[in-house]
């Protein structure tokens, strides 16, 4: 147990280090894809598509990566805005109403907010073409931009919720205070991008993305308070809205075909005809079945009385042990037959006669009624 815990901690630390130090678009999207497995597949593809589009439209990939931070951070943001239960209801209601203009789910707006925040902060980098004679600001960051093949030793993050179970401090990196970050933000458009920004905190980004964080991120507040807000934003325990059992039940419900409500309508002529035929059939059938029933009752009574007489006889009238055994054997057989006749009588009364009547009534229900779908 302890070894497994330590292994998980080490794995997470290694993941975090690899995320921070070496990352590019493909790696970011791959990691994000793994972390968003809690979403429905369609939503996951949409979210990944939005992030990919963000990368495609952005000329400066590294700047965008710095803005986005780690895939874990983005996954937490999406997870906070994603409610699988509501999402399912929304999908079903959209499909039923057939409206083309379905309301965008919340997680899409969150991702779009991230993109807007990036655009607002760094300007539109979409159309910026760097001429060959210009010096790239990021040429020195070969260790970042160099595409790395994913190593086999890299541990896999199987679920976002594994990461969400971490203590809150694990999500916070060593970051400067929010005021310093705000000051840097104002200078960001003018000043060249510096390597230290690779480790820049993402507090101000979170403040832009969440309205409540914007309200609380006033410049006069203390840095500690802002950091607390950020912690509250990013590290609130995100629980899966639906346990696995509920999800399975819902899947089962989905698999069941929808039943069309129907109403039973009587066919009057058929019902009248059937009643006329069924009453004599029940009477005759019951009478026929009553004959063997009564015979079995008589036989059972006679066998039981005879068996009792036979069994009781040898104890008073016989002296030879062999004779006693013989008579006892006969008496037991007669009693057994009497018991069998008695049970047959009960079965004829409770099973055959009642079953016959119920069968006739059930047949009438099938023949004289029809199922009509409710309009």
């Amino acid at each position: 147990m302890t070894i497994t815990l330590w292994n998980n901690i080490i794995t997470l630390i290694v993941c975090r280090i690899t995320e921070v130090t070496v990352i590019n678009k493909q790696k970011f999207l791959a990691e994000l894809g793994k972390l968003l497995t809690f979403m429905y597949e369609e939503d996951r593809q949409i979210a990944l598509g939005l992030y990919e589009n963000m990368f495609d439209t952005c000329a400066n990939e590294q700047l965008l990566l710095q803005h986005l931070g780690t895939p874990t951070r983005q996954a937490v943001m999406v997870a906070r805005s994603y409610n699988s239960g509501e999402r399912k209801l929304q999908i079903s209601s959209d499909s039923r109403s057939g409206e083309d203009e379905a309301q965008d789910p919340q997680y899409i707006s969150v991702i779009q907010n991230v993109e807007r925040a990036f655009t607002a902060r760094y300007g539109n980098t979409q159309q910026e073409e760097v001429s060959e004679d210009q010096i790239s600001l990021f040429e020195t960051f070969d260790f970042i931009t160099a595409p790395e093949e994913p190593s086999a030793e890299e541990p896999e993050q199987t679920s976002l919720f594994d990461l969400l179970d971490e203590p809150a401090e694990s999500f916070i990196r060593d970051e400067p205070a929010a005021e310093e970050a705000a000051a840097e933000e104002t200078e960001a458009a003018e000043e060249p991008f510096e390597p230290e920004q690779a480790e820049e905190p993402l507090i101000e980004e979170a403040a832009e993305e969440l309205p409540e964080a914007q309200e609380e991120a006033a410049p006069e507040e203390q840095p500690e308070a802002k950091e607390a807000d950020f912690v509250e934003y990013t590290l609130e325990p995100v629980q899966p809205e639906e346990p696995e059992e509920e999800a399975e039940e819902e899947e089962d419900e989905e698999e069941e075909p929808e039943r069309i409500p129907t109403v039973r309508k009587v066919k009057p002529a058929m019902l009248l005809l059937y009643i006329l035929l069924a009453i004599p059939a029940i009477v005759v059938g019951t009478a026929v079945l009553l004959v063997p029933t009564v015979l079995f009752l008589l036989a059972a009574t006679a066998a039981v009385i005879l068996g009792i007489l036979i069994v009781s006889f040898p104890f008073g009238g016989l002296t030879v042990f062999a004779d006693i055994m013989l008579v006892l054997g006969v008496g037991i057989i007669v009693l057994a037959l009497g018991f069998l006749f008695l049970w047959t009588f009960v079965w004829l009364i409770g099973g055959a006669i009642v079953g016959h009547i119920q069968g006739v009534i059930r047949l009438g229900g099938k023949l004289c009624y029809k199922e009509v779908p409710v309009k």
């Binding site: 037991i332 057989i333 057994a336 049970w343």
Partner: protein, 77 residues
């Protein structure tokens, strides 16, 4: 109902098997049916009862066949 039938049949078959075993054991150890019949006759007067039921059945049959028994009604050559 099928389970009840199974239980009843098992009980009945077991009782019949026990009876057959007792009868076989009685015969093997020297049981005599005439001796048993005598004992029963002494206790229940079986001979008298059998004679009584024979007479009753004969009277009943004679009343059913108004013209006498089929053997009596047949023309004699």
């Amino acid at each position: 109902m099928k389970k009840a039938w199974k239980v009843i049949l098992i009980i009945v078959l077991a009782a019949i098997l026990a009876g057959v075993i007792l009868i076989a054991a009685g015969y093997l150890t020297g049981a005599d049916t005439s001796r048993i019949y005598e004992g029963m006759d002494q206790r229940y007067q079986l001979a008298n009862k059998i004679e009584y039921y024979k007479n009753v059945s004969d009277e009943a049959f004679s009343s059913i066949f108004v013209f006498g028994s089929p053997s009596e009604a047949a023309p004699q050559n």
